[in-house]
Amino acid sequence: MNTVLTEIRIAVVAAGALFVVSCSGTIGADEPGGEPGRVTPAATAPKPAVPAPGAGSPMSVGDKPAGEADRPGAPIDPAAAGPRPVLRLTRFELNNTLRDLLGDTSNPAVGLLSDDIGPHGFEVAAGVSAAEATILQEIAEKIATDAVKARLASLIPCAPAAGDDACARQFIATFAKRAWRRPLLTDEQAAVEALYTAARKSGQDFAQGIRVVITALLQSPDFLYHLERLGSRTVKAGALVQLSSWELASRVSYFLAGTMPDGELFAAAESGALLTPTGLTAQVTRLFGQLAVRASMGELTRQWLGLSRIDRLAKDPAIKEWTPAVRAGLVQETQRFVAHVMFDGDGRVETLLTAPFSFLNDALGPLYGVTIANKDFQKTPLDAGQRTGLLGQGSFLAAQAGPSETSPVKRGNFVLTKLLCRSLPAPPENVPPLPPSSVQARTIRQRTIQHATDPACSACHALMDPIGLGFESYDAVGKFRTMEKTDVIDPSGKVTLDGQLRTFTGPVELVQALGKSADVRACVGQQVFRYALGRAESNDDRAALAQAQAALAKGNLRDLVSTIPTTRSFTHRLPSAGEVLP
């Protein structure tokens, strides 16, 4: 149970290569290191690898055919781009796509399918064993049945009563193109038509024939996956693939709107306008003006900040404030807050961290010491001497805490990984809990410091704990406090930002320092970049990542989000190992 680990290692599989990062016992107490991770055989002990924030990825890509900059030290090639793994639609994407394709608002993927967390920290749809295939079959059958029953007239190009084979062919030509997000090849079109014909021959009527076609299209990989393998062309002597206009339309749409392309985007794909810089920018700008971008960025926020876990987060029953309404409210608060800063405010990272307001309702009020009349969320000023911004919100403070006590370790780790992009190894599985309160170590601060005295643990803890202790001003559910039982809280600590060790006296100073930090800004850019690409960045993405980060540094989050689709990494991809190019 108490195995002493002299070194903590974790293998990270990214883009086909195995990497190991570690905190070894040699990391200086306040020195975050700064050396990019290296490809290291799992069996050998690597050097400390806490990457310099903003300097690109801790990982590089191995085993690939024609990488431009495999080695971290290689010069940055502005024409390079990383590979793109084939991903299945996440639950969020699948629900939205079924809504926009067929008008089905039942969100069928919720509760049936599950997504994993990918190596880049965002969700990826899980592998499909027979269980998932059965669920996907059942979803397709139900959605198709419902659509034909309730909305057939809106789906087909003729009156349902006049439905004949010609009408079906026309339906297939237009619907399949939307479902698969690309034009069908001649033989594909014929295969779909054959399904309809077979259904009719077996005695099914027109509507049932349409239903069978929809059922089949929805179970196809062309619908379920982001397939970028058809119709694209290679550039740079085969070293790089430029996405086809259809593929780019999908990528842009799923990033900005979380769903399939709309009519105008499809039209831009069809005409090829999307492949011109002005055509692409025009579409990005247009999509930015639509409501869907808020939903998509809300999803990004949910995944980035791990908001889903709040829903099932258990707290000590003695903490009466921890109600279902509070749990649900905290997720909403953070999503509304981020959307506000991003779309209605100045869009600056500093504001995300230091805004003296939040969005609260009657359930959340008591947690923040304010009274709100009803359950509608409203922009509410906060006592800026107590808390500001994202890190003053319960979605962080309560989620990154134990059931009855705070956890400076979790809070510090969150800041390091989510806001500073500094990779830490996964913790050992059987870390003993904090020692109980004793005469020598009474407060959480004292017990945390005692807990980390083991030299095997201190290397990582020295990075996390001095940050996390800054949030001791908030209890296990995020309420502001000045006392821990009979002891006065000491929320002071230290953090290394932009290459400098900074000390702070409490959380407000800490978040102000974080808000001004170029490291934090670079990391936020990196997180959004990862979400947009569905993968961790590689060395081939350094130019594109830097371009995105520069847009954020010069401008705001809106500039970041609208710049990413125009980067090389977004419009091109490196072929995967073993891929057969056209």
Partner: protein, 461 residues
């Protein structure tokens, strides 16, 4: 022994589950007209639980000569004794180690269930700061299903179920291609038997339509994966294979005359997880036995999900009390995980033993009883079936990967020599996997990573 009944209705099933007495209406699916000329097929049920057992309460003193008849042990420890009515059908293995764990970087005994049935260590994958394992390779259930599939097309090559799902997967099509367990007995029931009370014409039509759709989808997967890179191709091929599994289901679902007349209910209630765990374990076992009786499958797995954090409220008031910080998860009822870590404190030992005994009875003994209650040929289904209960650790307090309880039961055509405690010194669990393959009719030399050794001697009859 129960007499054969044809009233295999979903309504009575639901009622029985809710009353905690599922089984009497569910199990006897077998029809007299279903007599196989070539004898009953071999079948295996692989079950996995976690948190180990109270080893002093289970294992007798190590016998000289490697084995001793269970029925001749003078004073069997209490957990072993609790199974005495089935000694004649059982083998308890001692000295089994999950050697694969030694290859993994720092799991400290966690996640070992993921390769209990693969016998290969695999690697740890960091999924956004959360460690998960890739299983290391194909698991025994999937491998057996592939072998069986060479000669007979069964609708469910494997049936993979769980109770309180989540946690590590135990069934793997290949490395990092984990098979998801179905946790909801009602869903399982509907899929296995639900369509059987539709009119035959409608059933035929649905089957023909699904066949046509899945043919199309299969072809799409083949076309799409053709040009992909190696990793992406593996991902799509895994999905494509799952689609072909669905196709296979269509060809044989209704072939057994003995499996008719269930009723399809409209609702699909989900039992509350924690306090209904006993009923859910029973229901899943009955569904497995029912599916095997109909020859819908010959290979099944059952996993107690999660990492043992489930409460055991039905075992008595001690299990209802909330934990205090320092001993277990504060604010939650005492869980199996908690009692396993605290088991060597005198006042906790009886709780651990009571919990272990519950799993022995609810899983092992229950499965044996249910199989033995279904008449088949001159005997019962138990004559042709092997039931395996494997833990993923020995001493659950330290997560030890040695002295892991493995219990084998059933007669599987006389291929398992029963009524014995077998202890041949420290042996890798791979040897047990090899032995199971032999009993199922596939005499391989090794299973999983070959360096962990071959057949555990002394098991085969």
């Amino acid at each position: 022994m129960t007499t054969l009944a044809r009233d295999f209705s979903r309504r009575s099933f639901v009622k029985a589950v809710l009353a905690g007495t599922a089984g009497t209406a569910l199990v006897p699916l077998l029809s007299d007209d279903w007599a196989r000329a070539q004898g009953a097929p071999r079948r295996v049920i692989l079950m996995s639980k976690t948190n180990g057992m109270h080893l002093p309460g289970l294992f007798p003193a190590t016998p000289s000569g490697g084995e001793i008849a269970l029925s001749e042990i003078a004073s069997p420890p209490p957990l072993l004794s609790s199974m005495s009515r089935r000694f004649k059908d059982l083998v308890l293995l001692g000295g089994i180690e999950q050697t694969t764990m030694k290859e993994l970087p720092s799991p400290n005994g966690h996640h070992s269930a993921s390769h209990t049935f693969t016998g290969a260590a695999g690697t740890t994958i960091n999924s956004g700061g959360v460690a998960r394992f890739d299983g290391g390779g194909i698991s025994l259930d999937q491998w057996l299903a592939q072998q069986i599939g060479k000669t007979v097309n069964l609708p469910y090559p494997t049936l993979n179920l769980s109770v309180n799902g989540g946690g590590d997967k135990i069934s793997w099509r290949a490395r990092d291609q984990g098979v998801t367990n179905e946790d909801n007995p009602y869903t399982v029931f509907t899929r296995l038997f639900g369509a059987r009370n539709l009119p035959p014409a409608q059933v035929d039509q649905q089957r023909a339509e699904r066949k046509s759709v899945l043919d199309f989808v299969s072809a799409r997967f083949a076309a799409a994966s053709k040009t992909l890179g190696t990793e992406d191709r593996a991902k799509l091929d895994f999905h494509g294979q799952s689609v072909r599994d669905l196709e296979k289901r269509l060809t044989a679902v209704f072939s057994q005359a003995g499996c008719t007349t269930p009723m399809l209910a409209q609702s699909n209630p989900m039992l509350a997880a924690q306090d209904q765990m006993p009923a859910r374990i029973s229901a899943q076992i009955e569904l497995i036995v029912g599916a095997m009786a109909c020859d819908l499958t010959r290979v099944a797995t059952l996993k107690i999900g999660g990492f043992g954090d489930h409460a055991l409220l039905w075992l008595g008031d001690e299990f209802k009390r909330l934990c205090t910080p320092g001993t277990c998860s504060a604010g939650k009822p005492t869980s199996y995980h908690d009692v396993s870590h605290q088991q060597f404190k005198p006042d906790w030992t009886p709780l651990k033993q009571r919990a272990d005994q519950f799993f022995l009875e609810a899983m092992m003994l229950y499965a044996l009883d249910k199989l033995d209650a279904v008449k088949e040929g001159a005997g019962t289904m138990l004559d042709s079936t092997l039931v395996v209960l494997a833990d993923d650790m020995g001493n659950g307090s330290s997560h030890a990967q040695s002295d892991i309880p493995w219990i084998l039961g059933g007669r599987i055509g006389g291929r398992l020599k029963t009524n014995r405690f077998v202890h041949q010194g420290k042996r890798s669990h791979n040897g047990v996997l090899v032995a199971i393959a032999h009993m199922m009719g596939y005499p391989v030399d090794t299973f999983g990573d070959a360096k962990f050794g071959g057949l555990l001697p002394g098991l085969l009859g």
